[in-house]
Symmetry: C2
Subunit: 454 residues, 2 copies
């Protein structure tokens, strides 16, 4: 019998684990620790506090500190777990909730991820920020009030969303991306190009294939020296502050002290019950790794959707249940200056890396019938396993209904839909909504023809 | 070897059949007959020619008459097939394309449906219209230019879309619906109520449970006598013209002359290859009936999506191919004054009629996370087979992203997804798009709990 569950970390994964453990088991004692003073807040919402699309920082806090008590969950905020002695099943902590040692039966690691700072000189100045915590967002919102120029290092999701936010606040924004295109963890180069062009038209400067070398200035930045990796040309971009958004790494140091296995993607290895290599010890969210649904390769989740789904499974299982996590498809989406960018499953690059042979079905369609006013161009790519015909990935870019269409591909991947089955998809149709053959069906049709020919 | 395919009817089903037959078989001779002078146009687009969301009537014509020649398809527009002698495989025709008799090897019926006029007195006047043909739409657009008051009999999809269009043109619009609610062929009463309220707030008068009795006036309508079927109260609604949109019936008279089997829903019975009871004779679109995907009960398609999918299968098979139609899920959608109304698979009423025991998962959610500005309320209903747990239907009503979410349910139904699998659906998430647990997942969660308890 589990009598006490301890959850370490109170982000999306940890908070969900604690809540779901309580929902499943009314009697078990539950404690949750967070080194931050806030409890669960939406990390993905942070860029929108800068632009004002999220009105108040407090709106992002999804679990008010008082609510934990009502659920009989001991929330120890601003408090860090210092040491775990798993042989005795005790841990000691220190912080705002005081100092102490407690006993546990089941342990859930939800320690998240932290910014992985790139090798750039001069990152130790003031006015250089990440965008991972509520405090980061507050500092950046203050910058938006006073600064004129922003430089963002890293054109991934967080970097681009931050760039959009500063631009909307009237700043002159430059994004420096090391790779040949922005968003390459999410979309293929041809899709990324569409997004780059769209963002440039809306006024963002984007330097691709470019390495940030050094932040100039004494106490705070005056500019950043960047180098084009193809031409080797160097230039200095003036800026008032710098946002570093070059990716994260799982926080696993505490888990490592008790000997849980770390996987090949550097996250805590988990099984389908979200249990680590040690019995009664679970991990979930950004600190964990799990199998990719399609390639069956270990990978980090790195998404809010994955964090809450894994947190739910870990929490229920820690409380004595038997739930399974379905695997990571990795559906990703964002909206930049009205353009929806959506991706699920494997990208072309991932398919190559994971050795999955693919056939593509790509089309340029429209969100509405040609005769109806106001349809928007929609670019769709779908990928099918060359051998099995099964859907393994897809991407959409368009000014409306790209993200919601992605959902059809994701549930298709999760349920082993092949090209013929996606072609048979009976999309809904009305002139004000979409055409009789949805662009997704057209893409499947293109792939079907190629699969037949192979 | 098929040498000559004749398609009768050039709506969505017939035109698609001819085009797909040509795509599949470059050599076969193809003739297509249409009693109307137009070739394929979007019937669903007709209401939008009234409001101007479709700018020009010609925009609706998807196949310009000249294009048929380029595809080596003999299009005989404005020409009616008078007689078929199937034992000799000949048919005779008459009309704009002259008179003649031709030989065929394969025949495709795509004769569509026609308005089924209700038993109302005085329907023989001028200024009383259906809304099924391009000529109907032209006449109604002319009414919108001169009339002040419109009365629509029938609150189904066509009736409500027409009502919206006239209202947008500044007319005073009343909808008279015989049943307790509008749109009952599509959604459950609780969903219909939301739509009624929304349309009333936007200025449409809707009388439910009300029978139109008689159209008053000499040459043209001055008013319509209606009777409330609950209170038996009669009243006269003033109007300048009347639109009758009380449903359609399949046009099967020509097919009946050669003895094809008519099914229980009154359409031409078809197998999974869209072949009728007679070899080499196919039927598709509104004149045909086929199995409902979920209940395996014969039903009419009655939708553009079904017409083109059946037309494709019939055309390819007539040309010597071997394609199968996947069955009718019946995904329906419309948008009225910005509100999206979407339905797929069985409604509660259909489940009762077809004897499918269901468990519901219903929720009221939001299209976006609570902290992000501008999310809209979304009402979701999902239905699962009580015995198998499989998804059998669903409905959504909301001011955005209802229709696109419906697509997830439809592909789920088509691929035998159950409540647990829909719950495991990894929806995409971003603050500007939707929350970590999509309302669809929440609905599946509610159903899952109930399925467990039963």
């Amino acid at each position: 019998m589990v009598e006490h569950i301890v959850v370490i970390g109170c982000g999306a994964a940890g908070a969900t684990a604690a809540l779901q453990a309580r929902k499943f088991n009314r009697k078990v004692e539950i404690s949750i620790f967070n080194s931050e003073l806030y409890s669960q807040y939406s990390r993905c919402g942070l860029p929108y506090t800068i632009s004002g699309k999220v009105e108040d920082f407090d709106d992002l806090v999804l679990m008010k500190p008082d609510n934990w008590g009502a659920l009989k969950i001991n929330a120890k905020l601003g408090t860090t777990v210092k040491k775990i002695e798993h042989s005795k099943r005790t841990l000691s902590y220190e912080g705002e909730a005081g100092e102490g040692t407690i006993q546990y039966d089941a342990l859930v690691f939800a320690t998240g991820a932290e910014n992985a700072d790139p090798p750039i000189k001069g990152l130790d100045k003031e006015r250089i920020y990440g965008l991972r915590t509520l405090n980061d967002a507050k500092a950046l919102a203050a910058e938006a009030d006073k600064a004129k120029k922003a430089l963002v290092v890293g054109g991934g999701l967080v970097g681009m969303e931050a760039a959009e936010a500063f631009h909307e606040r009237g700043l002159d924004v430059t994004v420096v991306e090391f790779l040949p295109h922005i968003l390459l963890a999410m979309v293929d180069p041809d899709m990324a190009e569409i997004v780059e062009e769209h963002c440039r038209v809306h006024g963002i400067k984007i330097l691709t294939n470019t390495a940030a070398q050094e932040v100039l200035g004494k106490e705070h930045p005056t500019g950043v020296v960047v180098k084009n990796r193809v031409t080797n040309e160097e230039q200095t971009i003036d800026t008032d502050f710098v946002v570093v958004a070059t990716g994260v790494r799982p926080v696993t140091d505490l888990a490592e002290t008790i000997g849980v296995k770390i996987g090949s993607s550097r996250g805590i290895a988990t099984d389908e019950r979200m249990m680590t290599s040690i019995d009664d010890v679970y991990a979930c969210g950004d600190c964990a790794e799990h199998l990719d649904f399609v390639a069956k390769t270990p990978c980090p989740g790195g998404l809010g959707t994955i964090a809450v789904r894994q947190g739910r499974v870990a929490g229920i299982n820690a409380a004595g249940g038997d739930e399974k996590f379905a695997g990571i498809v990795g559906a990703k989406v964002t909206k930049l200056f009205g353009l929806e960018i959506a991706s699920t499953g494997l990208t072309e690059d991932m398919a190559k890396r994971y050795d999955v042979p693919i056939i593509k079905g790509s089309i340029k369609g429209s969100t509405k019938p040609p005769y109806y006013q106001g349809g928007k161009e929609l670019k769709v790519k779908t990928f099918f396993n060359k051998e099995t015909g099964k859907l393994v990935g897809g991407q959409l870019v368009g000014l409306e209904d790209a993200a919601m269409r992605l959902n059809v591909l994701t549930i298709g991947i999760q349920n082993d839909v092949d090209a013929s089955e996606l072609f048979d998809f009976e999309n809904c149709y009305a002139p004000a909504i979409c055409d009789t053959w949805d662009p997704l069906v057209e893409a499947a049709s293109a792939a079907k023809r190629r699969l037949r020919k192979k």
